[in-house]
């Protein structure tokens, strides 16, 4: 990921007030993880699977933090059960995902296109697909505002020019 595009993600998180990030790295987002771990404005927790990550974030929110879970598209599918539990308890959480398998992805990742958006819809997790890096910050801020107001996880999926 180009540094400038990664900076849009990190700056969007900061402007949204997010101060606690949980992640399991994805190669497309390597620069984002590096920036977050080096930024004293974030408390970062690296986890072993994405369901665990959702649980850590839930606990941190209960302790007063503004949280984001930054995971791969595959990891979003792994996290479904934990996210369903957050939904049941009505816990806010911003999900930031480099969206693999969308049109324009040069690798064979079609399985993610097939399942990701239908899964988010079925789970009643509001999401926005962002294609332009100029829209990354506003999408993250909108997502944070709504997850807090609606008390449910919400997602930003980065693809196209915003990611590649």
């Amino acid at each position: 990921m180009e540094i400038g595009k990664a900076q849009q993600v990190v700056q969007g998180m900061k402007e949204a007030g997010i101060n606690f990030a949980v992640g399991l790295p994805d190669s497309q987002f390597h620069e984002v993880y590096e920036m977050i771990t080096q930024d004293p404005g974030f408390q970062y927790v690296g986890v072993g699977n994405e369901g665990e990550g959702a649980a850590v974030a839930m606990g941190a929110w209960c302790g007063g933090k503004k949280t984001a879970l930054i995971i791969a598209t595959s990891g979003l599918l792994v996290a479904t059960f934990s996210l369903a539990r957050l939904h049941l308890k009505e816990i806010p959480l911003v999900l930031i995902v480099p969206y693999r398998g969308d049109l324009g992805d040069p690798r064979w990742m079609g399985i993610y296109k097939k399942y990701t958006e239908p899964m988010l819809s079925v789970m009643d997790i509001p999401y926005r697909v962002v294609n332009r890096s100029s829209e990354t910050k506003s999408a993250i801020k909108d997502c944070q505002m709504c997850t807090e107001a609606w008390l449910k996880p919400a997602a930003v999926l980065l693809t196209g020019e915003a990611l590649w």
């Binding site: 927790v45 665990e52 839930m58 539990r85």
Partner: protein, 213 residues
């Protein structure tokens, strides 16, 4: 072998409402709620999420003691949580695992245990926790040993891990669902009561006020 309910009663006598407790779905939550502890705890945190959630609370509130009352089947589902705890090194986190060696909730009833968990076979949770990097890890098999160990870890810096070996079946079986006299909360009701408890303890605002449509 000691009973889960007896250890939960012992633990309840050792902590006040200033200690934040996270419990998993099943008997531990049910007994904890029966002791009137539910509204100031986060309860029924299910399928691998208990210790991880407690870690999140502990990291958000590093000055406050946080205890996960986890169980073997629940923890085994998300065993990597122990590695995450060890690397984060929360000084305020204690993990207690009630280890009955079986999936009681999937048991046949009639006083019979459920199908075995890995700890009902070869797995040693203390060794796993220690191998993950939680140096203060131990196994206890009796109530007095439990009291002494937990009291020590409640006052010392963590992270600490206690595997409490308990009887394979419960004193009495609980049926699912809520009925007359059930002291449990709806999971959303519990979220609100726990978060409001944290807000009062910490003098902070977590839940947005108003703004309803």
């Amino acid at each position: 072998m000691v009973k889960r309910i007896d250890l939960i009663k012992a633990f309840a006598s050792m902590v006040g409402e200033e200690t934040l407790v996270i419990t998993p779905i099943g008997s531990t939550t049910a007994y904890w709620e029966e002791l009137g502890k539910g509204p100031t705890s986060l309860t029924s945190v299910s399928l691998g999420m208990c210790t991880a959630t407690a870690l999140g609370v502990a990291l958000a509130l590093p000055h406050r003691k946080v205890v996960a009352l986890d169980s073997d089947g629940n923890l085994i589902l998300n065993l990597c949580s122990l590695g995450t705890v060890a690397n984060q090194k929360p000084r305020n986190l204690l993990i207690v695992v009630f280890d009955n060696g079986n999936y009681l909730s999937g048991g046949p009833g009639g006083g019979q245990p459920g199908m075995p968990t890995a700890t009902g076979g070869a797995m040693n949770l203390e060794a796993v926790a220690r191998g993950c990097g939680i140096e203060k890890s131990c196994t206890i098999r009796g109530e007095e040993e439990f009291r002494t160990t937990v009291q020590k870890y409640l006052t010392e810096d963590g992270p600490a891990f206690v595997a409490a070996k308990i009887e394979p079946v419960e004193t009495r079986e609980r049926k699912g669902g809520r009925g007359p006299g059930d002291s449990g909360q709806d999971t959303r009701e519990n979220k609100y009561s726990f978060v409001h408890h944290v807000e009062r303890l910490e003098n902070i605002t977590i839940l947005k006020k108003g703004g309803g449509g």
